[in-house]
Symmetry: C2
Subunit: 379 residues, 2 copies
């Protein structure tokens, strides 16, 4: 680079510095204004996550951007990132308490990660939260006395036992709820153990989400729905979307959505380990997309094996799904070994046809997602 | 909501509108300034993607943000998104031409998607590009006359044939290069067919990337490296990172990075199809993360089956990797069927130990990536 170039670049960079300074000031201002919106909503008990208003606001900004020759997607992405930040900050303000005369909440398994998260959300919404962990059963009678809700979040393998053994003497108007990732047996156990209101919940996210905004909570109705309607409203105020499902329908979907997925990630990791793959070398060759895929497998192994064993061993039916996958893999491999390329292409086309409009939709959707992954700092 | 609340919210939203208006103006200004930087760099022939300068700038902004009580990650994410936009706009300006006395470039298979992308990048950098597709062989002699570089990008299964049959009469100083996703055989075929400079390239990205910034191009040296050094510089000016590899090392990594990955995604889709899974229902239950995973599978089936058949059938060795995975899956399934939970947990821990520091690193990395996916509009 010659001196002229260097000087030109320096000058432009000073100007960019100035713009960025203003940008920071604007971000500060916008976060503050949204926090004020949050405070007003909080006082009025309006949910923080308002998808329709959000969509309308974004549409307006996109149009404004377009008229200024700015890519509409750019302003949308920047504003979505800002909204995430605002959702995170929401926690500092607290949330509106929907039910003000509940009595206290007891979280059975409250020391676990998910128990802690729900304990925190409930506390931030003004509820009195007590936890009961495995060494506290001698205090159970005292803890349950006057409880308005008991929330069970213990490992799957002991959930039904805990319910049937320990939760048979709750106050009759107390709500009994659980957060187990299967719903059939736990909901039945709760209905058997307790005569009052019963509801099964499955939060479809890990405890490391920063905020519940946009996350999904599956609800399986048990008994006396009107008694716990406030809880579903409360969860929506935290930002999550409620999906109502039949326990059996939920459980069979989970065989594909959770058990199979975790199992195949597990085998992928196992396979890399047995092949003694050189991760550094693989990463060398990896564009951001493959890096993400590898990271999605690797992240499993930074977590609690018991949790994954729980999910994978929870349902007998998962074995069927997992075995079916093996069969299909085997068949496809046979095809591969026979060198029958035409048959592979034929089968590919059949699956593509079955996916129908979902395939191009997924391609479009994943492109945007992958671009956003691509922005990240990696390596 | 009462009137007071509505009025308060209206007023705050007006203020936010005003901030967003200023934000749009700032984005416009910043994009323009960066475009000017691009023009200066373009004239001086400096690469657009300057990782170290980028990192230094971001570190400074993060510190400034922190001093203003803004999350450093927020400003980093916003600026990275802006940088992506600037990279995209870069295309409109064109790129510096590293080699000004090359003669024209012939892209064999230039009508394919990847051929088109490279043709476009070369044209934007001032090179004269001619394409040769499968019906143009009668013009080959004329097209090759005076060519400075011939770039082969045809389906894998015919690559070596095309090279050995048609590319034996190139001008002696012409560079022969290919973009095939395996490197061993094509590089050897090029060395056999042509006595001049030879280089094998493997762009590790699909033709639908908006920009080459941050993408990886693997380079396998063939012959007369100094003659095509300019090409590697040119690719770096487009923003990509060059990774030099031995053909065999590259090919065996690709068995895991590409063949196995695509094959297992294929079987995943095949499995969903055979189980007649209800995609709508699965999506109902899906938080953004699972939606991404499903989209990553579904996107495969929106694409050309021949391309995937090419990659999967390209190497005999891939069969071994794919078979090994099957064996490990089978073993793990046997464990599962026996109900031996302890053995599963034990194996999980072994793999976790093998991943070592990569596991927590991947967890950390994927969390940030997933949060950015979570910001996206879905559903």
């Amino acid at each position: 680079m010659n001196e002229k170039t260097t000087a030109d670049l320096e000058q432009l960079r000073d100007l960019i510095d100035g713009v960025d300074k203003q940008l920071l000031n604007l971000l500060r201002k916008r976060l503050d204004l949204v926090a004020q919106v949050g405070a007003v909503k909080h006082a009025a008990g309006v949910p923080i996550y308002a998808p329709q208003r959000e969509a309308a606001m974004l549409a307006k900004r996109r149009a404004e951007a377009e008229s200024m020759g700015i890519s509409p997607q750019l302003i949308e992405d920047v504003l979505r990132r800002l909204m995430r930040e605002s959702y995170l900050n929401e926690k500092d303000v607290g949330f509106k308490q929907v039910k003000t005369d509940l009595g206290h909440v007891v979280i059975v398994g409250g020391e676990g990660q998910l128990g802690q998260l729900f304990g925190q959300m409930l506390s931030l919404s003004g509820y009195e939260v007590k936890t009961l962990d495995k060494d506290d059963w001698m205090n159970a009678k005292h803890l349950f006395d006057g409880a308005g809700m008991v929330l069970v979040t213990v490992p799957i393998k002991v959930t039904c036992d805990v319910i049937r053994t320990h939760l048979t003497q709750l106050p009759s108007d107390c709500i009994l709820a659980d957060l187990t990732s299967i719903k059939g047996e736990p909901v039945q156990a709760m209905l058997d153990a307790h005569q009052g209101p019963v509801v099964g919940l499955h939060p479809m996210f890990g405890p490391d989400v920063g905020s519940l905004a946009k996350q999904v909570v599956v609800v399986c109705h048990g008994r006396d729905e009107h008694e716990y309607q406030w809880l579903l409203e409360q969860i929506q105020i935290w930002g999550a979307r409620i999906v109502v499902a039949e326990p059996q329908n939920h459980d069979s979907a989970m065989q594909l959505v959770q058990a199979m997925r975790h199992f195949s990630s597990f085998v992928y990791g196992l396979n890399l380990c047995k092949e003694q793959a050189d991760i550094d070398n693989l990463l060398q060759f990896s564009s951001p997309i493959y890096r993400l895929e590898l990271a999605m497998v690797g992240r499993l192994f930074a977590q609690d094996p018991e949790l994954y064993a729980d999910i994978i061993f929870a349902q007998q039916g998962s074995l069927v799904a997992i075995s079916d996958y093996l069969e299909n893999y085997q068949e496809a491999l046979t095809l591969l070994k026979s060198g029958n390329r035409e048959a592979f292409v034929e089968q590919f086309k059949q699956v593509a046809q079955w996916f129908g409009d979902f395939a191009p939709q997924f391609q479009h959707e994943s492109r945007a997602m992958l671009q956003s992954v691509n922005d990240m700092k990696v390596g």
